[in-house]
Symmetry: C2
C-alpha cells in the first residue's frame, strides 16, 4: 500500500486537522467526539443541517460544511459509520433552538446510528427530523444496505436544503424539501479500479486488467455487472440509460446533472464523459439546467465516475443558485 | 490501459468540448487552431494574459481561464507543447490593443513555440512580453528542459498577474510582477505512482511496489532520488526542506503555500500532508498567510503531491485576495 499517510489508524484525525488549518475562515473541527462545524455555529433562528458517514468520500461531507450548506458533518473512520455520540454532540452544538435536519445516506450502520443520536437529542429537547437518501439505481439491497444505497443525490440535497435553511424554511418544510429532492434524484456509478482502505492495507476488491464494474457502490460494493473495458461513450450511455429509465426522466424535464469522479480519475476524463452525457440527454430531450463536474463523492483513490440527475422545478433551481461558501462548493460568494 | 476515453487521439478535443459545455458562462473553446478563451474577451483596455502547455495537467491551464486569471489558454496534446499557430491565434483573439503577457513554463518546446508565436504576433502589431516560470528546485536541467522546470508557481503567477491585469497594470509592470513572482516561488513534487499517456498506452515510467520518486517532474521526468515508501511526515519534511532551503525562506517571511495533488491522490491525503507542512513551516518561523490545498497542476492519474511556496509581500497578498471566477479557482465572486 502506497499512500500519503502516517499511521493508518490516524488518517481521519490528521486529515481533519489539515482541513481545519486550511479553512479556518469557514469551519472548525472538534475532536472526541469528532465533528466538523461551521465557524459561526449555531446560527440564530436557522434550522441546522447535519450529515455524516464514513470517511474516504471527501469532499463529502466535511468539505460541504459552511454557509449555505451543512452546519456540521460527522466523519466516521474510513468507510465506517460515525458513532451516535459524534452525531449527538454535533447536533446539539448546531441547534439554535429551532431544530435540526439529519441527512442520512442509506447504509444500515449510518441509519441506525443517526436514529440513536436523534433519540438522544430529542430526550434533551432538540427537535430532529431525519431524511434518508437512497438514490442509487444499480441494485436493490447491497452489502451494508437494505434497499437502495445513498450516493450522489446526497450532495445535491445538502446544497439545496442548505440554501432553504438560510432562507428560513422551518424544520417540517425543510424535511419535506429534502424528501422531494431524494424522490427526484437518481444515480449510478462505475469503477475502473478498486481502492484500498488504509487500515486494511489491500484493495477492497479485485478487478482484472481489462475489466470494469458497472453499478459499483462507493465502498466498492458489487454492482450490476462486470464487463470488458469499453469506450467512454458506451460507459456513459449505460450509466445514463439506467438513471434516465428509473425515475423516469422524460423529454422537457429540467435536471441538475452531476458528473462525479470517484477520486482517482483525471479531470480531463471527467469533462470528456460530461460531453457524452450532454449528448445523450439532449437525445432524450432532457434539459440540463445546471451542472457540476468534478470530485464530490469519492471512494478514496478509486478510478471511475458516477452520474446523478435530479429533476428540478423552479424552486429547486432557485435554491441551487443561492450562495454557498464551503471548502468544496462556492458560488455567488 | 483503463481510462474513461474514446479514441486516444481525440482525448484533448473531446475533453475541451465538455469543458465548454460545463462552463459556458465563463469561457469558450475554439478549435483548429485550438484554444480556450474568456467568454467576454477581448476585455477593452486590459492587458491580456495567455498561458498554455501540454494537456494532462488539468485544471492547469484551461481551468484557469476566466475573470481575474487567464484571458486564454492553449492546450497542446497530452504532455506536448501547443503549436505556434494556436498561441498566435489565442494571443490575437484576446488583445484589446494594450498588449499580451505570455506566461510560459520552462520546457524547451513550450519556450520555443511561445517565442515563435510572439514574433508572429509582433509582426502583426500585437505587443507581447513573455515571462518564463522555472521554479522546480528538484533538478537543474531535465528531460525537455534546460535549467529548472516550471511547475506550481505557474498557478500562483496566473492568479496574481490575472488580478493585476484587472486592476489596470500596463504590460511592462505586469511582466515585472510576473518575474517577481517567479523569483520568489519555489516548488518540489513527488510521485507514488506513474501515469499513462493515452496515446502511448503504457506507464511513462516504472516504480516498484514499495518505491516512491522524490523530485518528480509533471511529465514523469526523473527526480532527485528513488526511495522506499515513507510516512507522510518524512516525505513532507523532505519536500519542504528542499523548497525552504532554496530561496531560502526565513523566519517571519510570509508565504502563499500550495499543497497540490498530482491527480490520483485523495483529498483526505492532501489535507493530511498539508497539516504536516504547516507544522514544518511553523518550526521555521515561516508564516502561511494564504493557502491552497487540492489538485491544481496534475499529471493525469499520477498519485503524489507537490509543495509550492511563494514569498509574498503586501502587494502580492492583496492581488491574491482579489476576486477570481474560473472553473477551478473562485473566490469573492
Amino acid at each position: 500500500m502506497k499512500k500519503l499517510i502516517n499511521d493508518p489508524q490516524n488518517v481521519v484525525r490528521e486529515s481533519l486537522a489539515g482541513l481545519a488549518l486550511a479553512h479556518a475562515d469557514i469551519l472548525k473541527v472538534r475532536f472526541d467526539p469528532t465533528y466538523v462545524i461551521r465557524a459561526d455555529a449555531p446560527v440564530a433562528g436557522k434550522v441546522a443541517i447535519v450529515s455524516g458517514g464514513g470517511s474516504g468520500h471527501e469532499p463529502m461531507h466535511v468539505g460541504f460544511v459552511g454557509k449555505g450548506m451543512l452546519d456540521a458533518a460527522c466523519p466516521g473512520q474510513v468507510f465506517t459509520s460515525p458513532t451516535p455520540d459524534q452525531i449527538e454532540a454535533a447536533t446539539r452544538a448546531v441547534d439554535s433552538g429551532v431544530g435540526v435536519l439529519h441527512i442520512v445516506k442509506n447504509y444500515t450502520g449510518d441509519v441506525m446510528n443517526f436514529e440513536m443520536a436523534a433519540e438522544l437529542c430529542q430526550g434533551n429537547g432538540v427537535n430532529v427530523q431525519a431524511v434518508i437518501i437512497n438514490d442509487d439505481v444499480a441494485v436493490e439491497n447491497s452489502l451494508f444496505t437494505a434497499g437502495r444505497r445513498g450516493v450522489g443525490t446526497t450532495v445535491l440535497a445538502e446544497k439545496i436544503c442548505g440554501a432553504a435553511a438560510e432562507r428560513g424554511y422551518d424544520l417540517a418544510r425543510l424535511a419535506a424539501l429534502c424528501r422531494r429532492v431524494n424522490e427526484n434524484g437518481r444515480s449510478m456509478g462505475m469503477a475502473l479500479t478498486s481502492c484500498t482502505v488504509p487500515a486494511v492495507g489491500k484493495p477492497t476488491f479485485e478487478l482484472g486488467e481489462n475489466e470494469i464494474e458497472m453499478g459499483i457502490g462507493i465502498h466498492g460494493e458489487p454492482g450490476r455487472e462486470r464487463m470488458a473495458v469499453a469506450q467512454a461513450r458506451e460507459i456513459t450511455a449505460r450509466l445514463a440509460g439506467a438513471v434516465v429509465a428509473d425515475l423516469p426522466f422524460r423529454s422537457n424535464h429540467q435536471v441538475i446533472a452531476m458528473l462525479n469522479g470517484m477520486g482517482g480519475t483525471p479531470l480531463m476524463e471527467l469533462y470528456l464523459v460530461y460531453q457524452e452525457l450532454e449528448k445523450i440527454l439532449r437525445g432524450h430531450g432532457i434539459v440540463i439546467a445546471r451542472r457540476l463536474v468534478g470530485n464530490y463523492i469519492t471512494s478514496l483513490e478509486m478510478a471511475g465516475c458516477s452520474i446523478t440527475l435530479l429533476k428540478a422545478d423552479d424552486e429547486l433551481l432557485s435554491l441551487w443558485d443561492d450562495p454557498v461558501l464551503t471548502p468544496a462548493l462556492r458560488w455567488r460568494i
